[in-house]
């Protein structure tokens, strides 16, 4: 177990290392250094002033030196400072992260609940009207791009309600920290949560339904039924447990991918989370912030994968980690 963890974490670190190099390469092939220096020096700047800015940001140094500087800072737990306001990248990400985390946790709870429950009902009552409606709805939401669903929810539940003087949801872009007012926090996030959750739940509905149907065909389920076990116990104790494994893998990947920001949803609702910060930084060619976000995002993916593998072994005793 420990060896498995160490190896996976090591592999994850290699992936993250490759990511930072890729970001560096993209930045230096593109207009990055000169664009940043020129923007910062201002429109009237002389070449000497531009050069001075480049020098201050180390942008005139050889690439390996810049990369070495970045790694040196990173080893001290410092992601560097952004080019435009000298703000530390740590604090920029720390400010954006609670928003992304709030989005992620709420959405994940919703989509897992919706997806797994509808999947169970569909599997237990195959070909019933419930099964048909759930699978059809799943297909519709699966076909819907996240941003389309987000805008339609805003149009239907914010705009239409608000112009009719029903102020159920605050204007998009509102974020109230959980610690200051939990009710307002949830109210402001319900639409973004459902945007992510409905699109994601669709995959889980189908996955739960199909794996449960597979498991229903297993010998041990027949045995359990023939010895007189109640249907509820068969479903929840025996079938669901083995049907959980592919779900856990999928959830690990999906949740991990969202750590780097629900880019589209944050953009649609104007929530300044990690993804939103990243897009702004990319458009300004603000390398330190971009690298910081990419590191956080890939760490999320790697952690999600590892967590899924561990849960896999917990749920299914046949799986041993090597």
């Amino acid at each position: 177990m420990a060896r498995f963890l160490i190896r996976r974490i090591f592999q994850g670190l290699i992936v993250m290392f490759l990511m930072t190099i890729t970001v560096f390469i993209i930045f230096f092939i593109g207009p990055g250094p000169s664009a940043v220096a020129r923007t910062l020096a201002g429109r009237q700047a002389t070449p000497a002033q531009v050069a001075a800015v480049s020098h201050r940001l180390l942008l005139d140094r050889p690439y390996p030196v810049q990369y070495g500087h970045f790694i040196w800072l990173l080893l001290h737990g410092n992601l560097g400072y952004d080019y435009y306001h000298d703000q530390s990248v740590n604090s920029i990400i720390a400010a954006a992260f609670p928003i992304t985390l709030s989005l992620l946790v709420g959405a994940a709870i919703l989509w897992l609940t919706i997806g797994v429950l509808t999947g169970i009902v569909s599997a237990v009552r195959t070909r019933s009207i419930w099964d048909r409606s759930f699978t059809t709805l799943a297909l519709i939401f699966y076909s819907m791009p996240t941003f389309v669903l987000g805008f339609l929810l805003i149009l239907g539940f914010y705009y239409e309600l608000t112009i009719n003087h029903i102020n159920l949801f605050p204007a998009p872009g509102t974020f109230i920290p959980l610690t200051s007012n939990p009710v307002q926090w949830a109210r402001a996030l319900i639409l973004p949560w459902f945007t992510i959750a409905l699109v994601s739940a669709a995959i889980y509905t189908r996955l739960t339904r199909n794996t449960m149907l597979d498991v229903f065909g297993e010998d041990y389920i027949r045995t359990a039924r023939s010895k007189g076990m109640g249907e509820r116990r068969v479903i929840f104790r025996h079938t669901l447990r083995s049907a959980m494994t592919p779900l856990v893998t999928q959830a690990g990947l999906d949740i991990g991918a969202l750590v780097g920001g629900a880019i589209v949803t944050e953009q649609v609702f104007g929530l300044p989370g990690v993804g939103y910060t990243a897009i702004k930084a990319i458009s300004q060619q603000d390398l330190p912030v971009v690298i910081g976000v990419v590191l956080v995002a890939s760490a999320g993916v790697v952690a999600g994968n590892i967590a899924a593998d561990i849960l896999y072994a917990v749920l299914d005793p046949r799986v041993r980690l090597h």
């Binding site: 592999q11 992936v15 490759l18 990511m19 890729t22 970001v23 993209i26 930045f27 092939i29 593109g30 207009p31 990055g32 297909l139 519709i140 699966y142 076909s143 819907m144 791009p145 996240t146 941003f147 389309v148 805008f151 339609l152 805003i154 149009l155 705009y159 992510i196 699109v199 994601s200 995959i203 189908r206 996955l207 199909n210 794996t211 597979d214 592919p246 999928q250 990947l253 999906d254 991918a257 969202l258 780097g260 880019i263 589209v264 953009q267 649609v268 993804g275 990243a278 897009i279 990319i282 060619q285 971009v290 976000v293 990419v294 995002a297 890939s298 993916v301 790697v302 994968n305």
Partner: protein, 327 residues
């Protein structure tokens, strides 16, 4: 939802069971029907899939005959109806006008006819959907074949590459590529092809791993067939069914990704009509009233992806009625 192409179908790494071939006397009395014909028969009987196919054909026709919409309405794709002579496509305040007999689906923020632009926008969605998917499947198949067939070091390197690719925050990288490659169709196709092949490669690799242990491969090798012949003549045809299924299900996903990239400003630049880009433009003004600018391009997009997904599901069920290949 993440934009990992692998989300589409979780596939177990198991090879396709060969269809049961009747032997001896049975073979004489039973008319031989190839698995292809059986699949086609099943597909034709699937009502939902056939309706979806009809919708797809309509959308393709709309894309091909988009100029017809210009002829019928008399409105050009780029034509801005700013007045003063009718029809007037902008209100005195410069707002889009709502759907009417002059503009069936209303106008956009530049006073252009939304219906005509949706028809032309279908061209980009379908083009990217098909071309990018073709690249994804082609690259994935080649890599998967090589990894599965050669094994050992080739397999290890390619498998690591796929892991790395699937761990990349896809949208972030796509957006940062804009600084090197200017936004447009080429960038969209490159991005989708580059980030998409991993999932296909993984599936093909799994299939090849089990196929290459079969006896007929051994026989081919004993007859002196080289690796290329075995890979492309003996193994590849066995992968066709899963590849066809995967391709039909990848097309709608690719269309969604294209629209998303356009929405984020990495797709086809304006004024070329594109659904994702129209929705992006609508997003800044729809809360001031012109809901039609948001709703109609969104509907076009969702109807298209839904039709492809329903058809793809039908194709999957037809080729794999026992649900062995795909979850």
């Amino acid at each position: 939802m993440s934009y990992d192409v692998g989300d589409l179908v979780a596939v177990r790494d198991s090879a396709a069971e060969p269809p049961e071939v009747p032997e001896g006397d049975a073979a004489k009395t039973i008319e031989g029907r190839s698995p292809w014909r059986l699949a086609m028969q099943r597909l034709r009987r699937d009502r939902a899939a056939m309706i979806a196919l009809g919708v797809i054909i309509l959308i393709v026709l709309m894309a091909i005959f988009a100029p017809l919409f210009t002829t019928i309405t008399g409105h050009g794709v780029y034509q801005q109806f700013r007045g003063p002579q009718p029809p007037i496509g902008l209100t005195p305040l410069g707002q889009p006008v709502r759907p009417s007999s002059a503009f069936w689906l209303g106008t956009d923020d530049q006073g252009r006819d939304i219906l005509v632009r949706i028809a032309y926008g279908a061209r980009i969605s379908l083009f990217v959907g098909i071309v990018a998917t073709a690249f994804v499947v082609a690259i994935g198949t080649l890599v998967g074949l090589a990894a599965g067939y050669f094994g050992k070091i080739v397999d290890t390197i390619l498998a690591r590459m796929i892991d790395w690719l699937l761990a990349i925050p896809f949208l972030l990288f796509a957006i940062s590529l804009v600084s090197i490659i200017s936004p447009g169709l080429t960038l969209v196709i490159i991005v989708i092809a580059f980030f998409g092949w991993g999932a296909v490669g993984r599936i093909v690799r799994g299939q090849v791993l089990s196929i290459r242990e079969r006896e007929y491969i051994e026989a081919a090798r004993a007859l002196g067939a080289g690796p290329w012949r075995i890979m492309f003549v003996d193994i590849l045809p066995n992968l066709l069914a899963p590849l066809i299924v995967y391709t039909t299900l990848l097309i709608p996903l690719t269309i969604v990704i294209e629209a998303t990239l356009s929405f984020l400003g990495i797709g086809v630049p304006p004024p070329t009509p594109d659904w994702g880009q129209m929705i992006d433009a609508a997003s800044s003004i729809y809360l001031y009233g012109p809901w039609w600018y948001l709703v109609f391009p969104s509907l076009a997009l969702v109807i298209t992806t839904l039709a492809f997904n329903i058809f793809g599901d039908g194709v999957r069920d037809a080729f794999d009625p026992r649900g062995e290949l795909y979850v």
